[in-house]
């Protein structure tokens, strides 16, 4: 049924992505592809993978943005995947009931056996999170690795989404955002985690942590300090000072 659950689920599983820490290595995207091409929505088909115009299904894509310019400007790596919204338009537009939001934990999923491949859900998602598989003729999307997080065959520490488990910088966190006391919720509260495009009204579950403010006011002072240090530098050794003076000529 593509009507949303009448009440938002108590558990709201999702991701918290730290834009301050992400180094843009794409490891999360690659591990996502690797796991999911053999998982719940397998395969994540690639078309013309070694040709001139490759096209493939990925659930996680890493953009890089420049925000601001000059000394205040920042380069921000920005992983983007399904946000498992509380009010996902992709679910309500589905004419067949293939798209659904799980009542138990809020994960947004597609039933590949009843999807007719009309693509309307991908039109309805403002975040571009759903990708159509041309060879399977059905829509595919991030499952939050339901085949990992509930997988009793995996050691407990591996029961987290593939993207989270692989992040070498620990920029990705997984947990229950419906529980205000969970680690992820506290992280969001502490760091001012925010929603992407709140004006679209989808109430995303996933949150993004902003890049930390840089102590920009110290930069000019530090630079002039370095300059003076260079001009008045003394190694404490007369010989090395003599070498320095001669090399600096």
């Amino acid at each position: 049924m593509t009507s949303l659950p009448k009440q938002a689920s108590v558990r709201q599983l999702g991701l918290v992505i730290d834009l301050d820490i992400c180094v843009g290595c794409h490891a999360c995207a690659v591990n996502c592809k690797e796991w999911n091409t053999g998982g719940h929505s397998a395969p994540l088909t690639d078309e013309d993978p070694y040709g001139a115009d490759p096209l493939g299904v990925w659930f996680n894509r890493i953009h890089t943005y420049e925000a601001g310019s000059g000394p205040e400007g920042r380069t921000v790596h920005f992983p983007r995947s399904c946000l498992h919204c509380e009010e996902p338009a992709c679910v309500t537009v589905c004419p067949t009931g293939a798209s659904y939001k799980r009542e138990s934990d809020g994960i947004v999923l597609v039933n590949a056996d009843t999807c007719i491949g009309c693509k309307l859900c991908s039109w309805a998602c403002p975040y571009g999170a759903r990708e159509y598989d041309h060879s399977d003729g059905v829509m595919k999307k991030c499952t939050l690795c339901i085949d990992r997080i509930e997988n009793q065959n995996l050691p407990e520490e591996d029961r987290i989404p593939a993207c989270v488990s692989t992040c070498p910088a620990s920029a990705r966190h997984f947990g229950d955002l419906g529980d205000p006391n969970s680690e992820v919720s506290q992280l969001v509260a502490e760091r001012g985690g925010y929603d992407l495009m709140p004006e679209m009204g989808m109430k995303p579950t996933n949150k993004y942590l902003p890049p930390r403010a840089r102590p920009t006011s110290n930069a000019p002072a530090a630079q002039s300090a370095l300059k003076t240090a260079a001009e008045t530098s003394s190694t404490g050794s007369r010989f090395l000072d003599w070498v320095d003076r001669n090399l600096s000529r």
């Binding site: 593509t2 009507s3 834009l19 794409h26 096209l55 493939g56 299904v57 990925w58 894509r61 953009h63 890089t64 943005y65 420049e66 925000a67 601001g68 310019s69 400007g73 920042r74 380069t75 921000v76 920005f78 983007r80 338009a89 679910v91 309500t92 537009v93 589905c94 004419p95 067949t96 009931g97 293939a98 009843t114 999807c115 007719i116 491949g117 009309c118 693509k119 309307l120 991908s122 039109w123 998602c125 403002p126 975040y127 571009g128 990708e131 159509y132 598989d133 041309h134 003729g137 059905v138 925010y194 992407l196 495009m197 709140p198 004006e199 679209m200 009204g201 993004y208 902003p210 890049p211």
Partner: protein
């Protein structure tokens, strides 16, 4: 948005077919038409044929056409599902209406009730088609209040032009039968002009800054895309027509699809014999070209919020 030919054909063809059914119902209600077998057969064949061809074309663009029946199940939440249900239901009264008109050569009593039900359901179906697009917040310009009225008006305009032209094969249509169609064609293009004006002046709903949440640092630009090639989202949502081309195409659509049919059908109302038929055919041809262009532009000009992640500044 990528202008898929199957969707353009579906919305225009079925729109014309349903529009024609509405006019047939109004004729039956006005009671100033003599239902007859051959003319009825031709007119119902054209309208139901266009509807069926449009619906079939819309199922062919599905990844799994054999599962299309499942689309009738989610009418509680989905406008696409509602449209499918309305389209299927319309066949019921429409076939009864056609039976009365063609076999019993009657449009009164129960046949009239079937006709009225057909007309109402046809309008509901066209409006549902419009609502599929108008309900998508991710494509802000499509949520404009004029979208559904434009779909209804063009369905009625093309349906009316088809009805006048096909009816004219059998009996010359009196002028008072043509003027309403001229009026509806003019209204349709007036609404379209209003839509174009409104989308050109609309304030952006979302920006690259709100999409990334990085606006507090400064203006946000894409430094590096996730990959060097394209992906499904970029192909489906990233289609963008140059503004100057759009302006030209709008003018062509307006002239060929608006001015030509209005003049041609107005002339037809004042003429008789072969000249009248030629004027009708000219008007119908112009209108069809204009509506196809208008529908193509509807998709090609629409910007999707997801493109904010791929370099778009605002939608």
């Amino acid at each position: 948005m990528h202008p898929a030919y199957s969707v353009i054909f579906f919305t225009t063809a079925s729109g014309a077919g349903y529009g024609m059914l509405v006019w047939l119902a109004m004729l039956a209600l006005a009671g100033n038409v003599v239902p007859a077998m051959v003319s009825g057969l031709v007119m119902f064949a054209i309208s139901l044929g266009l509807i069926t061809a449009g619906l079939l074309s819309s199922t062919f663009h599905l990844g799994h056409p054999e599962r299309a029946w499942r689309a009738l199940s989610q009418w509680r939440s989905s406008w696409l599902s509602r449209e499918g249900v309305a389209a299927v239901i319309t066949y019921g009264p429409a076939l009864v209406f056609a039976l009365g008109w063609i076999i019993f050569e009657s449009t009164s009593g129960l046949w009239l009730i079937a006709g009225l039900a057909t007309g109402v359901m046809a309008l509901v179906t066209i409006a549902s088609t419009g609502m599929i697009y108008a309900s998508l917040k991710a494509i802000p310009r499509w949520t404009d209040v004029t979208v559904v009225p434009v779909y209804l008006a063009f369905g009625l305009a093309t349906g009316g032009a088809l009805l006048v032209t096909s009816y004219n094969i059998f009996t010359p249509v009196p002028p008072h039968g043509i003027w309403p169609v001229v009026l509806v064609i003019a209204v349709a293009w007036a609404l379209k002009l209003l839509y174009w004006r409104r989308i050109d002046n609309a304030k952006p709903v979302a920006t690259a800054e709100s999409a990334t949440g990085l606006g507090h640092i400064g203006p946000v630009t894409l430094f590096e895309a996730p990959h060097t090639g394209e992906n499904y989202i970029m192909r489906e949502m990233g289609f963008q027509i140059a503004r100057k081309h759009a302006a030209k195409l709008r003018m062509i659509a307006l002239l060929v699809g608006g001015a030509v049919p209005v003049v041609a059908f107005a002339a037809a109302a004042l003429m008789t014999g072969p000249a009248m038929m030629i004027a009708c055919l000219l008007g119908l041809t112009g209108l069809c070209i204009g509506v196809l262009l208008e529908r193509w532009l509807f998709f090609a000009e629409a910007q999707h919020a997801a493109m904010l992640y791929y370099g778009a500044k605002a939608v």
